[in-house]
């Protein structure tokens, strides 16, 4: 697929930079941090989904052998004890009420985890149990109990053209985002208006390294090691919660054992920090597998779409109402609502869009960022409905997409940036690979297409980075982008090596330490290449310029006469090792050149989200299925996914992102999901919650990395870590309808749902 010219290290098949550490067991994660005198924390969690706390008595636990500190609501004085993104509603431990099964009530720090667990049993908590809301519908009922009797503190950020939001707009509703463009009267120009409803399920992230943090106080200095995707926002939030100066908080982020979105903002950290302060000892707070499930999940959703089209398939107008199940605390729900609301049009041309997205509170685990960030929900609904509309109008689903795609460079909506991938190219690739245009389908088999869609790069994210060159030509990147498995250390060391025209072994990616590392907003939103990458390119070129200007001064000639090659300056046939030039001028102890890079999208009120999206992340997918009409069983015979890397910095890393995301989506499509009975999570145990295994792969499973070359990142690159999860569920549902005529509109697509849909097709007389 590559059309670009070969470069020195970019695109090479050489192993990842983190390969040796990870295959030998030498890689160190936050779970491996072991400090002298370190205590272990465990949390007492609510057994009730909704209850008032009448009393909490921890005096017996405090006396238990090995226990050094116990935290309850009585230890929050002097703190701002609640945290959150836009809305500060989640307490470190419950204050007045508990709002879901698993809500922290108290925590213990002890010499061993076992002593801490045993001490938890001695904490006496009295509850007054309250009525519960387990679903979106229950929460919106007029008679439903209120999760919050008074509104927690929160903000609504500035929005640009067509976008607006309101916090606490209705009962049990954290936040409502709305986006409008064009005139509602446009619907009158549509020949057909279709209204359909879709239901989206809820995954747990299932990162194998749990939520874990270690906190240590030394007089007024707080040091935190955390498995965290956004160390600087974490530092800011801890400073606010603990009323502690930001300069006296130092956050380290070792390698992260995955996150998929879950490890943003406060998770294990506040309890560790508070217990460390009370005990005067370092405290490790490492959650269990079940506690992961009680801390964060994806958003289940109901999506209602009203779509107007012309008889020839031209899209005219779309209204939508999305209800996100946000769980008991707001977490990132308002941000997910922005993106779900904004992305529901998909990569198509419309004359009118009116979309509302609500964050509904329920007595369940708080939902937060999850790979796809609202785009997975909207791609499921939109790409299903587009297929349904095509079939209703007897238009080929491939054609209706091609007919309505935004063109390369065409703005997503008024005031927005243009598409930086050619949508037609990707669709043709997956259609070709799966054999979409072959006329004969075997009995019971069908093929479906889908085009998943989201923006990438976050909203208005600033990024700063530093690149240093040492006397001997060592290059050091100080950068806040965390290595969470996505391969950022590999990509960024390659980019710097390419710019300095040297082997990648010269480049080191320094450990993250907020005292030293330049500011970054976080490793999320597929922003590493398109946001931080742009800053990195600036820093590298600035550092390189200093080196070249220095060399030109030493050699008394224009920079243009010189070539840098592996830390040697070449001028025609002359060779000048830089090390000697540097020591000749700066002395035998040497010097360092330092380049700094900064990038931030411009603030722009014409853009709906106040700055134009940096990039667009597209996941093209095609699925072939066989449906057994007797059992409703769906066999996924073949799955093709394709993302656009713009330029593949490391081809295997790109492939791994697409394939890993697609397999997550296979689980969501066919069997995986958190099952709630009312407000009780039934499949919380590892043996009960099924994630995809190697044996769940389709026999034919292909990922194709495109390199279209239009990305804003270095060398034309783009983010692609989320694209692969976006199209899979709708491609499968579309393939099922193609195979047997049955349309499934809720996930996961179980045999029961397929059988029931097949029965409905037959009509009442035949069932």
């Amino acid at each position: 697929m590559s059309v670009a010219t070969p470069l020195r290290v970019i695109g090479s098949a050489a192993p990842r930079t983190d390969a040796d550490a990870k295959i030998t067991g030498a890689a160190r994660y936050t779970v491996d941090i072991d400090l002298p005198r370190m205590l272990h924390a465990r949390t007492l969690r609510s057994p009730h989904p909704h209850a008032r706390l009448t009393s909490v008595n921890a005096s017996r636990a405090r006396q238990y052998p090995g226990v050094h500190a116990v935290v309850t609501r009585n230890h929050l004085e002097g703190l701002n004890p609640t945290y959150g993104y836009f809305i500060k509603d989640q307490p470190i431990v419950a204050i007045d009420k508990v709002r879901y099964i698993g809500d922290p009530v108290a925590a213990v720090a002890a010499e061993t985890e076992r002593a801490a667990v045993e001490a938890l049993a001695l904490i006496d908590v009295k509850y007054e149990v309250l009525p519960t809301v387990g679903t979106i519908a229950e929460a919106m009922d007029k008679q439903a109990p209120d999760l919050f009797e008074s509104e927690p503190m929160g903000i609504v950020p500035a929005y640009g053209q067509g976008a607006s939001a309101e916090k606490f707009p209705a009962k049990n509703n954290f936040y409502q985002f709305r986006y409008r463009t064009g005139d509602a009267a446009t619907f009158a120009e549509a020949d057909h208006v279709f209204e359909d409803e879709f239901h989206f399920s809820r995954l747990q992230h299932y990162h194998l390294e749990p939520f874990v943090a270690v906190a240590a106080w030394d007089h007024d200095s707080l040091e935190v090691w955390s498995s965290c995707q956004n160390p600087f926002p974490l530092r800011k939030e801890l400073a606010r919660v603990f009323n502690h100066p930001e300069q006296n908080i130092r956050v380290h982020v070792p390698l992260i054992g995955a996150g998929y979105g879950a490890k943003n903002n406060c998770k294990a950290e506040p309890i560790a920090v508070l217990l460390a302060r009370l005990s005067g000892r370092p405290v490790r707070h490492c959650m269990t597998h079940e506690e992961n499930f009680l801390t964060q999940s994806q958003h289940a959703a109901i999506l209602r779409l009203k779509t107007g089209v012309k008889a020839d398939g031209t899209f005219v107008a779309r209204q939508s109402h999305i209800l996100l199940d946000s769980g008991a605390y707001s977490d990132a729900s308002p941000l997910v609502a922005e993106k779900a609301g904004y992305r529901i049009p998909g990569p198509y041309r419309w004359r009118h869009i009116d979309t509302v997205c609500d964050c509904i509170m329920t007595n369940t685990t708080p939902a937060g960022p999850f790979r796809g960030f609202g785009g997975t929900q909207t791609s499921w609904a939109s790409e299903s409905q587009i297929d349904m509309i095509a079939r209703r109008l007897d238009i080929n689903p491939y054609d209706i997409r091609k007919q309505n795609f935004l063109a390369l460079g065409e703005p997503f909506v008024p005031g927005e940036s243009g598409m930086d991938s050619d949508l037609h190219v990707g669709l043709d690739i997956v259609a070709e690979e799966i054999g979409y245009h072959k006329s004969n389908r075997a009995e019971g088999r069908g093929i479906g297409l889908a085009v998943g869609f989201k923006d990438s790069g976050g909203v208005n994210k600033p990024a700063t980075v530093q690149v240093k060159a040492t006397t001997t030509g060592g290059l050091i990147i100080n950068c806040g982008t965390t290595e969470i498995g996505q391969g950022v250390t590999t990509a960024f060391t390659r980019i710097v090596a390419e710019i300095f025209n040297c082997p990648v072994e010269r480049v080191r990616y320094a450990p993250i330490d907020t005292d030293i590392t330049p500011f970054d907003q976080g490793t999320n939103a597929s922003s590493a290449l398109v946001v931080m990458g742009q800053a990195l390119e600036i820093a590298s070129r600035e550092c390189l310029d200093q080196v070249m200007v220095f060399a030109s001064e030493q050699l008394d000639c224009p920079v243009a006469d010189l070539v840098l090659d592996d830390w040697v300056i070449k001028r025609g046939d002359e060779i000048h090792p830089l090390q000697l030039l540097i020591m000749g001028y700066y002395g035998g102890t040497g010097f360092e050149f330092v380049g700094r890079g900064f990038f931030k999208p411009s603030t722009d009120h014409r853009a709906p989200l106040e700055s134009q999206c940096v990039s667009w992340e597209i996941g093209w997918g095609a699925a072939e299925v066989e449906v057994d009409p007797e059992t409703g069983r769906v066999d996924l015979l073949k799955l093709v996914v394709s993302g656009d890397a713009g330029r593949a910095i490391h081809p295997d890393v790109c492939r791994g992102q697409d394939e890993g995301a697609a397999v997550m989506a296979i689980g969501q499509s066919l069997f995986e999901g958190m099952r709630y009975r009312g407000a009780v999570l039934e499949n919380i145990r590892a043996v009960d919650y099924r994630v995809p295994l190697a044996r769940d792969l389709p026999i034919q499973f292909t990922s194709i990395t495109q390199e279209q070359g239009h990305g804003p990142g270095p060398f034309g690159s783009k983010g692609m870590g989320e694209a692969g999860i976006l199209p899979v569920a709708s491609a499968i549902a579309n393939a099922i309808e193609d195979a047997c005529g049955a349309r499934i509109t809720s996930l996961p697509i179980t045999p029961e749902k397929v059988l029931s849909a097949l029965d409905n097709l037959k009509g009442p007389d035949e069932t």
């Binding site: 994660y29 992230h205 194998l208 995955a258 590892a686």
Partner: protein
């Protein structure tokens, strides 16, 4: 505290004789990580489901999180730290490296030990056998295909060595 009877056990850990003193309710994962510094062993679900903590006990892949330490008495135990031979990577490690068969790396030591056990029993497995065997462990990052390909490559390398 019940279950705290202490005893000394003896086993071979990566070819070296060790004789730790353990309480009878200490699990192998904690013994190996905390007392023997085998931090390459990772604990994921802690319920013998995910396989991140896979070690080899007398050649059998074993969930260290669900194995009592005393059960290691008299056995031969191997962890990821003992796999390379004086700095030379095991063919499975080499294949995981060359095929980028990892992302976050948290499941990787367990996956590699699982694959080593397979190739010691079946030096020439079919792709279907590899898929079934490797389905014992969970990787949430890679989508497995690159892991399967790495095990195939390792099998081929082992075949060429023998």
């Amino acid at each position: 505290m019940s279950g705290d009877t202490v005893r000394t056990i003896r086993f071979a850990l990566n070819g070296r004789a060790v004789a730790p003193t353990v309480s009878t309710n200490l699990v192998a994962a904690d013994l190996l990580r905390d007392q023997e510094s085998m931090k390459g062993l990772k604990i994921g679900c802690d319920q013998a489901v995910c396989g991140a903590c896979t070690i080899l006990v007398d050649g059998s892949p074993t969930a260290a999180c669900a194995t009592f330490s005393f059960m290691l008495d008299g056995t031969d135990v191997r962890t990821i730290e003992g796999l390379s031979d004086q700095g030379a990577l095991h063919p499975v490690q080499q294949a995981f490296r060359n095929n980028s068969a990892f992302q976050c790396g948290y499941c990787t030591p367990g996956m590699i030990m699982l694959a080593v056990a397979l190739l010691e029993r079946h030096p020439n497995p079919s792709r279907a056998e590899i898929i079934e065997w490797m389905s014992a462990n969970i990787c949430r990052c890679t989508g497995y295909k690159m892991i399967i390909e790495a095990v195939e490559a390792a099998a081929q390398a082992v075949g060429e060595l023998s």
